[in-house]
Symmetry: C2
Subunit: 198 residues, 2 copies
């Protein structure tokens, strides 16, 4: 690799940076030189990584990332404890919270079922989910509209429905501001399928 021509500590830094997603060797090189030129930025970054790794854990109830256990949402007595929204990743909780539309509680799976990658129900937080269904009336599936996301939602629906819990899924259709002309066929088909009376 090119960066082996750099002094050892610099080569190590470039190599570490290029293990991040979406960062190739060229970008990693650029970032590494920037970090060397800005000691304050790089000191702050190293500290932030260490602190986040030390202080951020998974909430013992919902598995969301948190610095307090239970997390702020699970501790909040104002939330609707009868509605539970299941998401793939912690960042999805933030996306949903920004809308202010959902007043219930969350459960973070930390992935989706993907037998090809060796990810079965045991690798996700499905057992924790099944243990916290007391009092839950509706479970909203908010997985991403991918094959694995869909399969995970259907798998969970099949587990939850026999317990008398209402299972719903967020709508798939045209994004607001989107254009029929540029939408793919599957999205349009889903939008038609999910049409509502006006």
């Amino acid at each position: 690799m090119d960066f082996l021509k750099y002094p050892q500590p610099l080569a190590e830094l470039i190599s570490s940076l290029s293990r991040l997603p979406g960062i190739g060797p060229k970008t990693a090189g650029r970032l590494a030189f920037y970090l060397l030129q800005q000691p304050q930025v790089s000191e702050d970054l190293a500290k932030a990584i260490v602190v986040a790794n030390r202080d951020i854990r998974k909430c013992s109830i919902c598995s969301n990332f948190t610095d307090q256990d239970p997390c702020a949402i699970c501790q909040n007595m104002q939330r609707d404890l009868t509605a539970l929204c299941v998401v793939e990743h912690p960042r999805d909780v933030v996306s949903l919270e920004k809308t202010g539309e959902f007043k219930g509680i969350y459960h973070v799976l930390h992935g989706v079922l993907s037998p090809m990658d060796g990810i079965g129900p045991e690798q996700l937080t499905i057992n924790q989910l099944l243990r916290r269904l007391e009092g839950i009336k509706e479970v909203v599936m908010a997985m991403n509209p991918t094959v694995e996301g869909e399969a995970t939602a259907l798998y969970l629906a099949r587990l939850l429905k026999p317990m008398g819990i209402k299972v719903s899924r967020i709508a798939h259709g045209l994004p607001v501001g989107g254009d029929l002309e540029y939408a793919d066929e599957i999205t349009i088909a889903r939008a038609l399928e999910g049409r509502r009376d006006l």
Copy 2:
């Protein structure tokens, strides 16, 4: 900012990452979650940043980044000590070294003259350059072909020529594999200007 909705240590991590060049808040969020999910990657990265910051310094002769002083190139007695190539950044040394074409020594300016940004000769390593001209027969300017790069090359040429040193500049023209049709006019003008007899 959106990331203020995250737990404090995570918000700090996203904020630190988004201070890197070319990393916006969305990418910073994605990287931060990745770092939390991959403790080994993030531990290695934090360590690499700390080690690089501690061990990488500027060579006291050429100002290139190095973990030994003088740097490997300045220590190398096989190099041609009569030819000196001036570059803007340490990464440019690596680009030039990869070609294997230049056998001389280097000098890294750590920037270019840019009065608008308050960067004058004192902010660069120009004084160090002037102090190491003994025995140098040719200085090759390898600044980037930008207005500031050109101005810096001309400024240095005006200092060096009266000392009887030959000053040259790397050629500007069509990149190999490039296409006349897609080249900008200034590049084509420079390519014509620099034409050679066949």
